[in-house]
Symmetry: C2
Subunit: 160 residues, 2 copies
């Protein structure tokens, strides 16, 4: 039996930030590929019930991205820019097009734990506590945990 | 004599945000051009003592930009992405390369006051109060006020 690894989600008490931490049996380079190769990204992002298609994707510093997640004819589109794509850090903007005024600034970094393991830290910054708390109450942890479980399987299968 | 218009700068008491408000004798379309046309942008951005050159510039949703401001051989480089370029709103990321870890999410919007006048609102969001307060103490208002005075003159001269 595999262990079930869940993401730790924390709402900063003083800043409009959501932080998440999650360990992977993968190297930083593998996690970077999982987040920058569009063919890999669509295989794991989001909850199991949604199928994701990339519209455009240019994963380099200064590039931009857009993808559409669908289920039974319903579609959810997301877009943003890659402010920075480094070897152990990605900084990007994020908008759900259903609420185009809202923009999050997301930072991911990969902490090498050695022995092929990595702790991934993500930080999502928005401009109000109301917006931050609405995300937390949206059930986001289901999609995050299902997505990372798919990413685990892709690594275990040698596909990343 | 011309009136001297200064920018109103406000630090949000509960969020790591700097807000600025400034009126211009210009239309929203003129202010949009001043912020998106690189040949115009370098004529007004920053304090009088610095000369700005654009390295790259793609002012559309999903584009990116970089410019270098210099004085007596000293150079300050800035870069970011355009998350959104609308008709009355620009959302962009901003990093001073001297502190590459720091990223601000900036939103500008143009409030049409009629009669060829516009109130420009800007919001700069960062991920710590310490970072926000360091910007406020850096003397930023000098460069902002000198820059907007140059923008006023370009409009008055019919160059925008």
């Amino acid at each position: 039996m595999n262990e079930t690894v869940t993401v730790a989600i924390e709402a900063d008490p003083k800043l409009p930030i959501i932080r998440m931490t999650r360990d992977f049996a993968a190297t930083p380079a593998q996690l970077l590929r999982a987040h920058t190769d569009p063919e890999l990204f669509v295989l794991w992002i989001g909850p199991d019930s949604l199928t994701t298609k990339v519209d455009y994707w240019d994963a380099r510093t200064g590039g931009s991205w857009r993808y559409v997640a669908g289920r039974d004819g319903e579609e959810f589109a997301f877009r943003g820019t890659f402010h920075e794509v480094g070897t152990d850090r990605i900084v990007q903007t994020f908008t759900w097009e259903g609420q185009p005024e809202g923009v999050a600034l997301e930072t991911l970094w990969f902490e090498d734990l050695g022995d092929g393991r990595t702790r991934m830290h993500t930080q999502s910054l928005v401009d109000s506590f109301e917006g931050r708390d609405a995300w937390l109450k949206s059930g986001m942890e289901v999609g995050v945990n299902e997505g990372y479980a798919k990413l685990d399987r892709l690594v275990a299968e040698g596909r990343i």
